[in-house]
Structures are given as structure tokens and as C-alpha cells.
């Protein structure tokens, strides 16, 4: 069981992993969060400052970390994920970015997420549910540099796939780090191919780099299968 658990954990780049409560819990939290978020977005929508360089989209930084010591299955993914802030211009991006630890300096099982404002870094979000992600596994020591190149390419609209990009994730794990980029339509092969090619270019990946595309429905299924096993064995 432990092995399977670990395999799943390692496989999942910055999304639910195993850290979610029962679906019921998840739903309840979602409603509360949505209420909260709506009131926040009513209060203020971030805009570029005078003279700043606007971005094509507004984005939000998120951070998540699996708390050690507590059984993973009692925690909710949404409880663990924290929004750091939103920005609308290049300058505002750098303000946040320069006030955050670089991913290579993170410890433990943690993730940075950078998603378009309004899209939660969750499989179930409307923008993500038909989507998927490209995954690249990195040996230790490369995460900061690759993450930077990845998000600069995203913010600078280098992918040229219209509205398709949802966000990017860097996942710090025990023996490796994983970066991934999420898009809206997993079935759109010309889009996913273009994202792959752009990734190769902006990350300067060696030709033999293994790149894996995973649909979120597959991720959800793997997660459910795993928790099904937990439940069957009387874990919860």
C-alpha cells in the first residue's frame, strides 16, 4: 500500500495528490471558499499600475504543502492550498516573485502554482476539467531555473495557443522535482503539440527528455482508485 501511495504521490505534479478529504467534505469547503472568493473579487480586481507593462491575463500565485504528521486522507487539498496574491502587470509579478522563496529552496512535499486569475489549481475547476497537463521530471537542482523559464514563457504569451493555457505548477518532491503546465482541452492535439514544442524551446530540453501528457480525468481516476482501495481496506 505504501508503495502505491508513494507512486501516486510522485506522479502527481502539484495537484490533489492524496491530500483530499471525502468528496462531501470537498464540496462543502468549495462552497465556502467560493463565497469568500466572490466577496474578495467584488472588493478589488487587480489592475496594472500607471506606466506598468500589462500582461495578457491576470494571474495568481498559490502555494501548497502537505503537512507532515497528519494522515493525508483527512486533509483537504483546498485547505492546504494558499493563495499568495494576484497581479496584472510585469512589475507586479516581479514584486511577488522576488518576495517568495525559489522552488529549489523549498523543503518537503510542496508546490508553487501560478494560474490565471479565476482558475483554481484544481482538476475540478471548470477551466481544467476537460484539460490535462504536460509533465517534466527534473533532477534536483534544476527546479528554480526551469520554473522561472516556464512561467516567464507563460506570462509573456510565448505558447501561442490562444486561451488554452490555464497555469503552471512546480512540485518539490523527495528525490525529484516536477514542473507541469496545464491546458483547457486535453483532446486538442494541435494545441498540446504546440505546448510541448514551446516547452522544449523555452526550457531548452535535451532531445531525449521524457515528456508526459496526462489528462485530468486520468488523474482523478487514479486518485479515486487509490482512495477506493483505502476505503475498502477500512482506512476511513
Amino acid at each position: 500500500m505504501n508503495n502505491k501511495f508513494d507512486a501516486l504521490k510522485d506522479d502527481d505534479s502539484g495537484d490533489h495528490d492524496q491530500d483530499q478529504g471525502s468528496p462531501k467534505d470537498g464540496e462543502k469547503e468549495k462552497t465556502e471558499d467560493e463565497d469568500k472568493e466572490q466577496s474578495i473579487s467584488k472588493k478589488k480586481m487587480v489592475v496594472p499600475g500607471a506606466g506598468e507593462h500589462p500582461l495578457q491575463y491576470n494571474y495568481s500565485f498559490w502555494y501548497s504543502r502537505r503537512t507532515p504528521g497528519r494522515p493525508a486522507s483527512t486533509q483537504s487539498y483546498e485547505q492546504n492550498i494558499k493563495q499568495i496574491g494576484s497581479f496584472a502587470s510585469v512589475e507586479q509579478f516581479w514584486r511577488f516573485y522576488s518576495h517568495m522563496i525559489r522552488p529549489g529552496d523549498l523543503t518537503g512535499h510542496s508546490d508553487f502554482h501560478l494560474f490565471k486569475e479565476g482558475i483554481k489549481p484544481m482538476w475540478e475547476d471548470d477551466a481544467n476539467k476537460m484539460g490535462g497537463k504536460w509533465i517534466i521530471r527534473l533532477r534536483k537542482g534544476l527546479a528554480s531555473r526551469c520554473w522561472e523559464n516556464l512561467i516567464l514563457a507563460m506570462l509573456g504569451e510565448q505558447f501561442m495557443v490562444g486561451e488554452e493555457i490555464c497555469g503552471a505548477v512546480v512540485s518539490v518532491r523527495f528525490q525529484e522535482d516536477i514542473i507541469s503546465i496545464w491546458n483547457k482541452t486535453a483532446s486538442d492535439q494541435s494545441t498540446t503539440a504546440r505546448i510541448r514544442d514551446t516547452l522544449r524551446r523555452v526550457l531548452n530540453l535535451p532531445p531525449n527528455t521524457i515528456m508526459e501528457y496526462k489528462t485530468h480525468t486520468d488523474s482523478i481516476k487514479a486518485w479515486e482508485d487509490f482512495h477506493g482501495l483505502v476505503n475498502a481496506s477500512g482506512g476511513r
Binding site: I84, G85, E91, R95, M100, L152, L155, G156, V202
Partner: protein
């Protein structure tokens, strides 16, 4: 067509540079936002060039224009340009709303980490080289064709 006749010669020259067939259309957008070269002016030049030099039917013509408009609407920046802005004072300020969190720093990180060879991106022509200091292997330089 009356619009075309009003166009300045100098601007036409600039625009025609963007329209050499071997170059991608997205040359029209660049790192810097150039308000004077927008979809409309590009389209006008296209119209003129097409009329004079080639026989492009109206459908093809609108196809080209719509492609231009689509690309024109995107705000895109190269990595070098974004990094160039990282050290400006506006980018070093502390965000107004920053939660207290172990991963959040009270002072901005040193932008040295982002340094790059200025000569690599001064001037817009040619390939740009993506560099990060502290790394000397050539595997970290990325050529960008623009």
C-alpha cells in the same frame, strides 16, 4: 482605399519590412508595444502591397487581416524583456497585500539570480540568448527566433 493614399511614405517602409513573405506575421508584435503599428495600419499596408504587387483575392486578403488582428491582440514579451524589468524599482517593491507565510520573504530577493548578458538582448535584431548567471554550460542558453 482613400486611407492608403494618406499614409506616410516612411511608415509604409517600416510596415513593409514586416511583410516580407519569408518572415512570420508575428513580427508585427514585438517586445515593445508599438501603438503606431496596429492591426489597422498593417492591414492598410497589406491592402496596398497586395494590390500593387500580387493578385490576392478578397478572401485571402481578409484571412491575412484576421490573422494579424488575432496576433495583434496578444500582449507578448520575451524572457529577456521580462527579466530586464525585474531590477527596476517598481518590481522590487513589496506587494501591498502579502500574506505572512514561511515561503514569503520580508525583503526582496537579490535580483542577481536573474542576471543575464545585456549584450545578448540589446537591440531587437537577431537571435536572443537566454542566460542565467551562475551557470556557464551552454545548455542553459536558449535561442529565440524573433
Amino acid at each position: 482605399m482613400t486611407l492608403v493614399s494618406r499614409m506616410e511614405v516612411s511608415r509604409r517602409r517600416i510596415l513593409q519590412k514586416h511583410l516580407e513573405p519569408a518572415r512570420p506575421l508575428r513580427r508585427c508584435i514585438h517586445v515593445d508595444i508599438e501603438p503606431e503599428i496596429n492591426a489597422a495600419t498593417c492591414a492598410q499596408t497589406l491592402m496596398e502591397v497586395m494590390d500593387q504587387e500580387t493578385n490576392v483575392d478578397i478572401e485571402q486578403f481578409y484571412k491575412i487581416i484576421s490573422l494579424h488582428k488575432q496576433k495583434e491582440g496578444r500582449i507578448s514579451y520575451t524572457r529577456a524583456f521580462l527579466i530586464g524589468l525585474a531590477s527596476c524599482p517598481e518590481a522590487r517593491k513589496k506587494p501591498e497585500f502579502l500574506p505572512e507565510h514561511p515561503i514569503v520573504l520580508t525583503k526582496a530577493r537579490d535580483p542577481e539570480q536573474l542576471k543575464f548578458k545585456e549584450s545578448m538582448w540589446n537591440g531587437e535584431k537577431g537571435d536572443m540568448c537566454w542566460m542565467i548567471f551562475g551557470q556557464t554550460q551552454c545548455d542553459i542558453s536558449i535561442k529565440l527566433s524573433h
